[in-house]
C-alpha cells in the first residue's frame, strides 16, 4: 500500500499537535516554579517585569533571608521534625507490622482492625481536640508535639502487608538458629522489606515537611515554627518584597524536589501509597 501525501501530512500534523499539547502540560506544571526561582534571584524589590538578563540576577534575597531572625531555626525545625518523624514512623510501624504479620497472639486481628479503623479519621478534622490534648500534656511549642502525632495506622497497614510476604521458613530457620524475635526482626525481616520502608519514609517525609495546619496550631512561639509557617507569615510582614518571599518558597520547595529528581519512581510510589492501597 502506498501512503498518499495526505496521510503523511495528517500523521505529521497529529504529531505536531500532540507535541504542542505535551509542551503545554509541561509549561503548566512548571511555570509557577520557574517564576518562583527567577523572582528569588532578583534584587530589585517588587519588580514584576520578567527581565532576567544575567547581570540583574543576584543572591541578595538569599543573603537577606538567612540574615533574618530565626530563619536558621526554622530550617532546623523543619529538618529535625521531618527526620525524627520518619525514624519514629518507620520504627513503630514496622515493629507493629511485624507483630501483626508474623506473631500469634490473642486479639491480633481485632487490635489490627481497631487500629486500621483510625485511618478514616481525617487529620484536619481533629486539629482542635488534638491541640487541646497537646495543651493538656503541656506539650505546646515542643518538638514532641510536632513529631509524635505523625505515625498513622496507614504505616502499620503498609508494613504488615510487606512483612506478610516474608517467607515463614526464613523466620523459622532463624528461630532454630536461636535468634530471638528482635534479632529476627532486624536481621531477617527488615532487610527484606526495604522498599516498603523507603516508600513509607518518603510518604512520611513529604507529609511532615509540607505539614501546615498542625504546626500552625501547635507552634505558637516564633522559635518553634517550621518553614511553611515562616513562608506563610512573610506575606503579612514583608508584603512588598516578592523576591524575599520567593526565596523562602524556594528553600521550602527544594528538599522534596531534589529527592524527587533522584528517586522519581520511588517517590511517586511512596506519595500515592494511600491512593493505591487504602
Amino acid at each position: 500500500m502506498m501512503k498518499t501525501d495526505m496521510q503523511i501530512l495528517k500523521k505529521g500534523a497529529g504529531r505536531v499537535a500532540s507535541s504542542l499539547l505535551l509542551i503545554g502540560i509541561i509549561i503548566a506544571s512548571i511555570f509557577p516554579f520557574l517564576y518562583m526561582f527567577l523572582m528569588s534571584f532578583k534584587s530589585t524589590i517588587n519588580a514584576h517585569d520578567l527581565d532576567f538578563s544575567l547581570e540583574k540576577l543576584s543572591l541578595m534575597q538569599y543573603q537577606k533571608i538567612f540574615a533574618m531572625d530565626h530563619f536558621g531555626r526554622y530550617i532546623f525545625n523543619s529538618v529535625f521534625v521531618a527526620a525524627a518523624g520518619v525514624i519514629l514512623t518507620v520504627g513503630v510501624c514496622s515493629l507493629a507490622g511485624y507483630a501483626f504479620a508474623k506473631m500469634d497472639f490473642k486479639g491480633n486481628d481485632k487490635i489490627f482492625l481497631f487500629l486500621v479503623m483510625t485511618m478514616v479519621v481525617p487529620s484536619e478534622v481533629i486539629i482542635i481536640p488534638l491541640f487541646l490534648i497537646t495543651k493538656g500534656l503541656g506539650w505546646l511549642n515542643t518538638y514532641r508535639a510536632l513529631i509524635l502525632p505523625l505515625p498513622t495506622a496507614f504505616g502499620v497497614f503498609i508494613m504488615r502487608q510487606a512483612i506478610l510476604d516474608v517467607p515463614q521458613d526464613l523466620i523459622d530457620a532463624a528461630k532454630i538458629d536461636g535468634c530471638g524475635n528482635l534479632k529476627i526482626f532486624f536481621k531477617v525481616v527488615l532487610p527484606l522489606v526495604k522498599s516498603s520502608m523507603l516508600a513509607l519514609s518518603i510518604f512520611t517525609f513529604v507529609g511532615a515537611w509540607n505539614n501546615f495546619l498542625w504546626p500552625l496550631v501547635a507552634s505558637t512561639k516564633t522559635e518553634m515554627k517550621t518553614l511553611p509557617l515562616a513562608l506563610s507569615m512573610m506575606k503579612t510582614q514583608f508584603n512588598t518584597d516578592v523576591g524575599l518571599t520567593m526565596a523562602c518558597a524556594v528553600i521550602n520547595f527544594l528538599p522534596p524536589f531534589i529527592f524527587y529528581v533522584f528517586i522519581q519512581g520511588r517517590f511517586k510510589e511512596g506519595m500515592t501509597l494511600s491512593g493505591m492501597k487504602g
Partner: protein, 297 residues
Amino acid sequence: MAGGKKKYGAAKVAPYCYIAPITLILVTFVIGSVAGSIILGFTKYNIMTEPVFQGLKNYSKLMSDSKFIKALKNTLELMVLIVPLQTIFSVAISVFLAANRKRLLGRLANSVIFIPVICAPAVAGVVWRELLNGKIAVVERSFGLFGIDPSMLLGSAKTALITVGMVAIWKWMGYYVVIYTSGLLSIPDTYYEAAKVDGAGRLRCFLSITLPLLKPTIILGVFLSMTTSLQCFDLIFNLTGGGPNNASTTLVVYAYSKCFSAGTAGYAMAISNVLFLVILAVALLQRDLMKREASEI
C-alpha cells in the same frame, strides 16, 4: 510457629510490646481526639475556663449561623467544582501521556506533572497568589485571552472559591495521573489489538475497553478527590485566608477561626464534627460502591 509459644510469660507479652508504641500514639492522638471532639461538641468551652455541658445547643446554633451555612455551602461547592474536573482532566491526561509514553516529551511531561504534588500546599498557595497578583505581563496576557484580569481572581467574592479550586486541581493533577496511569497500564494490550482487528476506532476503544476497565480506579480516584477537597485548608489559608468576606471560607477554615480567633473551642468542635459526618458518609458510600464493584467482577 510453636517455637516462640512456650509457656514463658515473656514470649506471650512480647507481641504486645511490639504493637504498644503505635497503639499508644493512635489511642492518645486519634481516638482521644475523636472522643474529645464528640464530648466537647456538647459543651460551651473557651479553653480558658472549664467546659460546661449544654446539650445540643452548639448544633442548634449552627442551624441559624449564616456564616456556618455559608462555610458548609462553600465546602460542598468546592468539592463539586474540583472532583469532576479533576477526574476528567486527569483521566484524559493519563490516556494522552500513556499513548505518548515512549516519546521524550511524553516522559518529561510525565515527570514534571508530579512536581506540584510534592511541593507544600503553602508554597503552591503563596506562589500562585503572587503569580496572580503580580502584574506580570505574560500572565496578564494569557489570562486576557479569556477576558480575565488575573489580579481580580482572588480578590473578588465571585471568583475566589473557583480560583482556589483551580489551584487545587493543578496541585493534585499529577497525583491522580499516577493513579490512573497505573490503572491504564494494567489493561492488557491484547484487548486493544483485538479491537483494532475488529476495526474499532480510538474513541470506540476508549469507551468500550479503557473506561469500563478503569472504572474501579476511577471510583477510588473520585472518592480520594472528594475527601481531599472537603478537607482543603492550607491552600485556602495561603491564597485567600478565607476571604474576601468569607467567600472562600470552608468548614475547616471556619472551625479554625472559631477556635483560634474567636476562642469558642466547643462550638468549633461542633463544626468539625459536622464535617466529620460528611466525610464519614462519603467513606461509607465509597465502601459500598467498591464492594458492589468487586462483586460484579
